[in-house]
C-alpha cells in the first residue's frame, strides 16, 4: 500500500503533509513560495523523495493549486473540502472552523446544518492584508503582533477591504496614535470582516477551530477572535498543525487515488508550463537607446542646487506631510534647492520633520534665515501647530504653484503619490476641476512599493526591472486588492518580475486615466501636462503614462517633492514683510511633545481623539469631527439645514397617552424621508412610535451578524443595527414598508425607489432570526394609491383593534404631516439662502439622499462645512427652485430626480456650490454622478463628489472641500 501525500498550494505558501500506510503523520512542511510556485512545490517534494522515496497517493489543494493540478493531471481537492476531511478526523466534536489564508477566508459550520463559506471576490486579503498593514506600520508581522498584545484601545477601522482599512490607518499614524493600538485595531478589523462577510447571520458558537497560517502565528489575532466571539479557552482550539491542516486533509482525501512514484509526481509538476491565461501588452522601450533618449529629455527639467554649507541669506521652507511620506524643501529666493528631503514617515511624521529641521539649522550654521514656512498635506494642521509655520496650504494649491514654476502654461496636472491620485485641470490660471481618486482605487503608488518589498527588492531596482520587460502582463486597473490577486495569478502562470513590474506600472496609469480622470481619450487631458508625485519617479510609470496618452509630458526632477516645493513658493509669495513665526534653532532644541488619546464627550458621537501637547503648553487635537473635540465652541448651526432637519425629524415623535402598542420605526434608508408620515400615522391611531437608536459604528456592529451582502451600501448595512436596537428596546412590532414606488413628485419619468430602499425589509426578515411575521410589519404599499395603501395598512394593523376609517383618517394626517415637513425644509432652505447672501457667505448644497442626513453616514461633513464658514443646504431643500430637467439617462427614481433639479438650481445661481455625497456601492449613483457633473459643467460650475462609506476619514474630505473652495477662490 502506498503512502498518502497532500500538497496545499496557497497564495503565499506551500504546505506538504505525508501519512504512512497506517495513517501516521510522518512528515509536514510549510514554506513561503514567493510566487515561485512550481519550484517551491518541487523542492518540497524532493525533500519527501529524499526522506522516504516510494509511492504515494496524492492530492493537491489550495487556491494556487487548482491550475497546477489541472495542468499536471494530479487530483485536486477544494481546500475547504480538504479542511473538512481533516477536521472530521481530528476534531469530530468541533462545531465550527475559521480558516484564514493568504488571500482567502473561510468558515466551515460543522454542526446544526453543515455549511462551508468562502469570502467573496472583494473581501480580498486576510494574510496579505495583514502583511500590507504591517508594511504600512513599518513593522514585521511578528513585531506588529507583539505590539497588538500591548494595546489599550481599539480604533474603528474599515474592515471591508484592505484599501479602505489603509485609508483609516494612515490618518491614525499621522495623528501619532499608539502603534500598539493600531496593530490591535487591524486585527479587530480582520475579525469583523470575517464575522460580517462570512458568517452573515449565522452565529459562530460552540467549539471553534482556528486554522491557517495567520491564526497560527499571530497571538494578537487569536486574542481578537476569542474575545469577540466570547469563547472560553476550551472552546477556542488552535491546533498545532493548523498551518498544514489543509495539506493533511488533502492527503487523507487521496485514499482512492492511484499510487504514483514520487519522482513521477515531481516530474509531472515540473513539466507544467506556464499557462495561456495571461494577457500581455507591448514592451515599454524598444531598446536601450530609446530609453537613453527618454532619460535625456526628462533631465532637462531639473532644478538647480545651492550649497547649504556655504549659503548665507534668506530662504523659504515648504513641508509636505503626506500620507505615507514626509517631504521637506528649503529654497533660495531664486528657487534653487538648498535642502530637500523625502522619506517614508514611518508613521511618525512629526518626529521626522523636527529631526530634519534641526539638521537644516545645523547645516546652515546660523547663516540661514527662514523667512517663511508653509505646510501642506494630510498632516498640515499638526505640523503647522508644532513648528509654528506661517501658513497652511491645501495640497492641490501647493501642487499647482509648483507646476506653474516648470510650465507657466500648464493646463493639466496629475500627481500620483503613495495613497492618492490627484488630477486637476487648469483654466485661466486657476484650478478648474479637481479629480481625486475614490477610496477604492487608492494606494496604487504605495502598492508598487509594498509589492517590491515583498519581493525582497528596493523600489528602484524593481522599477528598473520593468523597463525592458518583453511581455508586460495585464493586471487590471480597478483596485490594488484585485491587482494583488491578478499579480498572484500571473506569477502562478510563470510571469517574471520584470513583466510584472512593467504591468503594474501600466495598471496604475490606466487606473489614473480611466478611473480617476475618467477620460474618454488622451486629448481631453490637455496640451501642457505636468506629472508629479513620488510614483512618477519610477521611469516605468512615466513611460506607461506617455505611451497610454501618446503625449510627451514634463516630469520635474523633484517630482516627489512638488508639494513641499509648492508650499515653499506659497510661503515666499505670501509672507510679505511680516516676520516668520516658525520655530528657530533655539526653540527647536526645547521642542518636545506628549501624545495622549481619549474619547471626546462633547456630544453623543464619542469621537476617538488624540491630544498632542507641546512643550510650550499648546495643544493639538485630532480625530474630532467637530470643534467641540478641540475644545472650541461649535460653529453656529443656524445656517446648516442638516442640523435643522435632524431636529425637525426627532420632533415628529411625541409621547402618546395610553397607547395600544409600541411601534418601532427604524430611522434609516427611506424612513429618513417618511418618518413624519409614519410617526403621525401611528400617533393618530394610538400607537406609541419609538425611534431606533442613533446610528453609530457600535450600532452597526450590533447588527453586523445579520448582514447578508457585504457589498451593499453602508446605510443598508446600518439598518441591521437599527433593527437590533428596536428589538432590544422591547417594542411590540417594527414597521417598515416595502415600496417599489416612492411618492410621485412629478419631475421624472417614473418614481421608483432604488431596489435596496424598496425591498430591504425582505432581506431583514430573511436574515434576522429575531424577526417574525408578528413583530415585523412590512406591507407592500404605494403612497400614491391612497385607498389601496389604507387597505394594506388596515390589514396589517387590525389585530390591534383599529378601524378602517381610523386608518384612513390617520393616513391622511400622516401625509399632511409629511407635506408639512417637506414644506418646512424648503422654507428653511430659503431662509438659509437669504441669510447667506446677506452675510456674503458661500452656500453649499450637500446633495445626496434623505438618509445622508445620518451623522454616522455623512461623518459630520455638514459640521466640517460650517466650520469652514459656509452655509449648508440639502437637495430636498432646494430642488423645487430648479427647473424641470431632461437628462441623458432615464430619470426614474424619486430621490435622484430631486438631485438633478437641485443641481440645475445650483448650476444656474451664484453664491451656491454643489457637493454630491455618494454612498460607496450605490449603483444608482454610478449613473447620476456623471449626469450631475454634466449639469454643473454645462453652466461652467465645479462638480465635487465625496464618496462615503464606513470609513471615518474626514482628512481626505477636508482636502477635497478646501481644494474646491480654493478653486472658487474662497480658501
Amino acid at each position: 500500500m502506498a503512502m498518502l501525500l497532500g500538497v496545499d498550494v496557497g497564495s503565499t505558501t506551500v504546505k506538504v503533509a505525508v501519512y504512512d500506510e497506517s495513517l501516521n503523520l510522518i512528515h509536514k512542511s510549510y514554506v513561503r513560495h514567493f510566487s515561485r510556485v512550481n519550484r517551491t512545490v518541487v523542492e518540497s517534494l524532493k525533500r519527501v523523495a529524499e526522506k522516504f522515496g516510494g509511492e504515494y497517493r496524492v492530492s493537491i489543494t489550495g487556491s494556487a493549486g487548482l491550475g497546477l493540478s489541472q495542468r499536471s493531471g494530479l487530483n485536486f481537492v477544494q481546500e475547504v473540502q480538504a479542511a473538512f476531511i481533516a477536521i472530521r478526523k481530528f476534531y469530530p466534536d468541533a462545531d465550527c472552523a475559521v480558516e484564514l489564508g493568504g488571500e482567502d477566508a473561510k468558515i466551515i459550520f460543522l454542526t446544526g446544518g453543515a455549511e462551508q463559506r468562502m469570502n467573496g471576490s472583494c473581501a480580498g486579503g486576510t494574510g496579505a492584508f495583514i502583511d500590507q498593514m504591517a508594511t504600512l506600520l513599518n513593522l514585521t508581522v511578528t513585531e506588529m503582533d507583539e505590539y497588538a498584545l500591548k494595546a489599550e484601545k481599539i480604533y474603528p477601522i474599515a474592515s471591508r477591504c484592505g484599501v479602505f482599512a489603509k485609508s483609516d490607518v494612515q490618518p491614525l499614524l499621522n495623528q501619532g496614535a499608539d502603534k500598539a493600538d493600531i496593530a490591535a485595531s487591524i486585527f479587530q478589523a480582520v475579525v469583523d470582516q470575517t464575522l460580517s462577510g462570512l458568517a452573515q447571520g449565522r452565529r459562530i458558537k460552540g467549539k471553534v477551530l482556528f486554522l491557517g497560517g495567520p491564526l497560527h502565528f499571530l497571538k494578537g489575532l487569536r486574542k481578537a477572535f476569542t474575545q469577540t466571539l466570547e469563547l472560553s479557552p476550551e472552546n477556542a482550539v488552535f491546533p498545532d498543525d493548523a498551518p498544514c491542516f489543509m495539506a493533511m486533509g488533502a492527503a487523507l482525501n487521496s485514499v482512492s487515488e492511484k499510487p504514483r512514484d514520487i519522482n513521477e509526481i515531481i516530474e509531472k509538476i515540473q513539466s507544467v508550463d506556464s499557462g495561456d491565461e495571461i494577457v500581455y501588452s507591448q514592451p515599454l522601450f524598444k531598446d536601450k537607446e530609446e530609453y537613453a533618449e527618454f532619460v535625456r529629455r526628462h533631465r532637462a527639467t531639473d532644478l538647480r542646487f545651492a550649497d547649504i554649507a556655504g549659503y548665507c541669506g534668506d530662504c523659504y521652507l515648504g513641508v509636505d506631510s503626506g500620507s505615507t511620506t514626509t517631504k521637506l524643501m528649503l529654497i533660495t529666493p531664486d528657487c534653487r534647492i538648498l535642502y530637500s528631503h523625502y522619506q517614508s514617515n514611518n508613521g511618525q511624521p512629526l518626529d521626522v520633520i523636527i529631526d530634519k529641521l534641526k539638521e537644516i539649522y545645523a547645516l546652515g550654521g546660523g547663516r540661514l534665515k527662514i523667512r517663511a514656512a508653509a505646510v501642506t498635506g494630510y498632516g498640515e494642521d499638526l505640523i503647522k501647530s508644532a513648528i509654528k509655520a506661517d501658513f497652511g496650504v491645501v495640497e492641490t494649491v501647493a501642487h499647482f504653484r509648483a507646476a506653474t514654476h516648470f510650465n507657466p502654461n500648464v493646463d493639466f496636472i496629475i500627481d500620483i503619490g503613495g495613497q492618492d491620485i490627484k488630477c486637476f485641470k487648469i483654466k485661466n490660471g486657476a484650478i478648474d476641476s479637481i479629480m481625486l481618486n475614490e477610496a477604492c482605487s487608492s494606494g496604487c503608488g504605495s502598492f508598487i512599493q509594498t509589492f517590491a518589498r515583498a519581493m525582497g527588492m528596493e523600489i528602484d531596482k524593481f522599477s528598473q526591472e520593468g523597463l525592458f520587460a518583453k511581455h508586460p502582463v495585464e493586471l487590471g486597473s480597478r483596485c490594488t486588492v484585485f491587482m494583488n490577486s491578478a499579480v498572484k495569478q500571473a506569477q502562478k502562470e510563470g510571469a517574471g518580475i520584470d513583466d510584472i513590474s512593467a504591468g503594474l506600472s501600466s495598471s496604475i496609469v490606466k487606473n489614473a486615466i480611466y478611473k480617476v480622470i475618467r477620460a474618454k481619450s488622451a486629448d481631453e487631458l490637455g496640451e501642457n501636462i505636468v506629472v508629479q508625485g513620488g510614483t512618477f519617479l519610477n521611469d516605468a510609470v512615466l513611460r506607461s503614462f506617455e505611451l497610454e496618452t501618446g503625449k510627451q509630458v514634463i516630469r520635474p526632477g523633484i517630482a516627489g517633492l512638488m508639494g513641499a516645493f509648492g508650499a515653499a513658493l506659497y510661503a515666499k509669495e505670501k509672507i510679505g514683510d511680516k516676520p516668520s513665526t516658525v520655530l528657530d534653532a533655539q526653540r527647536l532644541e526645547n521642542f518636545s511633545y506628549v501624545s495622549r488619546s481619549s474619547t471626546c464627550r462633547g456630544c453623543t458621537s464619542n469621537c476617538h481623539i488624540n491630544v498632542i501637547t507641546f512643550a510650550d503648553g499648546t495643544k493639538y487635537v485630532s480625530g474630532n469631527k467637530c470643534e467641540r473635540g478641540a475644545g472650541l465652541k461649535p460653529a453656529a448651526s443656524d445656517l446648516d439645514i442638516y442640523a435643522y432637519k435632524q431636529k425637525r425629524l426627532s420632533s415628529c415623535v411625541r409621547p402618546v397617552q395610553s397607547y395600544k402598542a409600541k411601534v418601532g420605526l427604524p430611522l434609516q434608508l427611506g424612513m429618513y424621508d417618511q418618518l413624519p408620515l409614519w410617526a403621525e400615522f401611528f400617533t393618530q391611531l394610538g400607537f406609541q412610535p419609538v425611534l431606533s437608536e442613533k446610528s453609530s459604528r457600535k450600532l452597526y456592529f450590533r447588527g453586523q451578524h445579520t448582514v447578508a451582502s457585504d457589498t451593499a451600501c453602508y446605510p443598508a448595512k446600518l439598518m441591521h443595527g437599527h433593527i437590533e436596537s428596536l428589538l432590544d428596546k422591547g417594542v411590540d412590532f417594527i414597521f417598515l414598508p416595502c415600496e417599489s414606488y416612492n411618492i410621485d413628485e412629478h419631475c421624472s419619468v417614473n418614481h421608483y425607489n432604488c431596489p435596496v430602499v424598496a425591498y430591504y425589509p425582505e432581506l431583514l426578515k430573511a436574515n434576522n432570526e429575531r424577526l417574525s411575521a408578528d413583530n415585523f410589519i412590512m406591507p407592500y404599499i404605494d403612497l400614491n394609491m391612497e385607498s389601496n395603501a389604507v387597505g394594506k395598512l388596515y390589514a396589517s394593523l387590525k389585530k390591534y383593534g383599529v378601524k378602517k376609517s381610523e386608518v384612513s383618517r390617520a393616513f391622511k394626517k400622516g401625509m399632511a404631516a409629511l407635506e408639512a415637513y417637506h414644506a418646512d425644509v424648503r422654507a428653511k432652505g430659503e431662509e438659509i439662502l437669504k441669510t447667506a447672501a446677506l452675510e456674503n457667505k458661500q452656500a453649499i448644497v450637500l446633495a445626496g439622499r434623505p438618509y445622508h442626513l445620518d451623522e454616522e453616514i455623512n461623518h459630520g461633513i455638514n459640521k466640517l462645512l460650517t466650520s469652514l464658514n459656509l452655509a449648508v443646504l440639502s437637495e430636498d431643500s432646494v430642488y423645487e427652485k430648479g427647473d424641470m430637467v431632461k437628462v441623458n439617462v432615464l430619470n426614474q427614481w424619486t430621490y435622484q430626480a430631486r438631485l438633478y433639479r437641485a443641481a440645475d438650481f445650483v448650476a444656474k445661481h451664484g453664491g451656491v456650490q454643489l457637493v454630491q455625497l455618494v454612498s460607496f456601492g450605490c449603483g444608482i449613483d454610478a449613473i447620476t454622478a456623471d449626469e450631475v457633473r454634466a449639469i454643473m459643467e454645462k453652466h461652467g460650475k465645479l462638480y465635487t463628489q465625496i464618496k462615503i462609506d464606513e470609513i471615518n476619514n474626514l482628512g481626505v474630505v477636508k482636502i477635497r472641500l478646501r481644494s474646491m473652495l480654493a478653486a472658487i477662490g474662497e480658501d
Binding site: 487556491s63 485536486f76 481537492v77 477544494q78 481546500e79 475547504v80 473540502q81 453543515a114 462551508q116 468562502m118 471576490s121 472583494c122 452573515q200 447571520g201 449565522r202 494577457v279 495585464e474 487590471g476 484585485f482 490577486s485 491578478a486 495569478q489 502562478k492 478611473k515 475618467r518 474618454k520 481619450s521 447578508a708 451582502s709 457589498t711 443598508a716 416595502c738 417599489s740 417614473n750 425607489n753 431596489p755 424598496a758 425591498y759 425582505e762 432581506l763 430573511a766 436574515n767 407592500y780 404599499i781 394609491m785 389601496n788 427647473d883 424641470m884 430637467v885 431632461k886 441623458n888 439617462v889 432615464l890 427614481w893 440645475d904 449603483g923 454610478a926 449613473i927 454634466a934 454645462k938
Partner: protein, 419 residues
Amino acid sequence: METFDYTTPYPRWEEGMKSTHKILVPDMLPWHFSIISEIMKMEGYDVEVLKNDSRQVIDEGLKHVHNDTCFPCLCVVGQYIDALKSGKYDLNKTALLITQSGGGCRASNYVSLIRKAIYAEFPQVPVVSLNFSGLEKSSSLKLPFSLVLKLAFAIFYGDSLMWCYNQTKPYEKVAGQADAARDDCVKFILEAFGRGGYRNYKKINGRIISAFAAVQRSSAEKIRVGIVGEIYVKYARLGNNHLEEFLVKEGCEPVVPALMDFVLYCIINVVNDKKLYGIKSGHPHIFAFVYRLLHGIQKKIIKQFVREGTFTPIHDFSHLRACADKVINQGVKMGEGWLIPAEMAALAETGVPNIVCAQPFGCLPNHIAGKGVIRTLKKLYADENIVAVDYDPSATKVNQENRIKLMLASAAENKKGRG
C-alpha cells in the same frame, strides 16, 4: 415650469434605416439569439450577433463606462466598441440594438449608458432600444405584432434546445453528437420560420426532443448544477466566463432555467403591480391575456416532455410563482427580483439543490433577491447548496472557479451523505 434640456443630441433610429443599416446585437443569449437573428434577417433586418470575446472587449468596456456600472453594461459596451473599431463595419450604416425592460433597476438605463459611451467615439452610430414599455419612443425598434409573435415562439424553441442540449451533452457517448443534434434542430426551426408553420410548436418541440433523445447517452451519474441570477451573466458566455462549459468540463450537468420564465416574469409583474397597489393605468388585462396565452403553451410543452420521458421537463411558471411565495413577496420585481429565489426553490424541489447564483459585482437587486434569500432557502431545503459568484472585469477566473469547486465538493459530500 420650464424644462431645461441637458441631453446631448444623439443619432436616432429611423424606420428607413432598416434597409440601409446593419444592426449589431450583443451576444447576450447565445442559445436564443442564434435563432432570433435569423428570423430578423428573414424580416429584412440586417442583424448580426457579435461573437467577439477577447480580453480587448472587456478593456474597451472598462475604458468607456463608469467604474461602478454593472458588469453586463460593461461587457455590452465593450463588444460594441471592439466591433466598431474592428473596421469590419461601415460606421455610417451600422446601428446597435439593446433590450430595455423599464424596471426600477439600473438595467433600464443601459440604453442611455451605452449611448453615452458610443457617442464619444462614434457619434454617427444610433443606439436602438427594443422594449415593450413605451420607452425611448424616438429611437426604438417598432416591431410588427407578427414579428413579436415569432420572437415569442423563438424563445420557446431556444429554451427547449438549451434544455435538451444541457441534458444530453454531459452524457453523450460519441463526442459531437449533441452539437450535431443542435445544429440539425436549428436548421429545422429556421425552416419552419421560413416556410411557415412556426406556430406548430407541438411538432417543432417534439422534433427537438426526439433529435436529442436519439443521441446515445451514458448512464453516468452526474451532479446537476442550476444556474440562476442576473439575466446577462446567467446566460452570456462573455459575462460568466463560459460557466456552462466549465461545469460540463467538471463533470456536471448544467441546468439553466428557461428564458421564457423571465419573459413571463416581466409580464406578470405588470399584473401583480395592479393587484398589489391598485394601479389603474397601463393595460394589465392585455398583459394578463398574453400571460395566459404563453403560459398555456408552456404547459403543453411540459406535457410533451413528460410524455416523451427522456428529459426532465422545463419548470412550470405557475410552480415558480408558488415557489417564490415560500421565500419572498412577488412584489420584489426589480431586476430579476423574485424570479431568482423562485428558481432556486424550484430547482431544489426538482432534485437540483446545487446552484450557482451568478451576479454582477455589486448588483443592487441581488443583494436582496440573491444573497439575501440564501438563508431562507437553506431553512426550507436542507440540501440547498448555493454559491453566489460575483462577476466583474477584475475578478479572476481562478477565484470564481475555486468557489464553484467548493460548492461542487459540498454537492458530492451531500450526495454521499444521502447515499
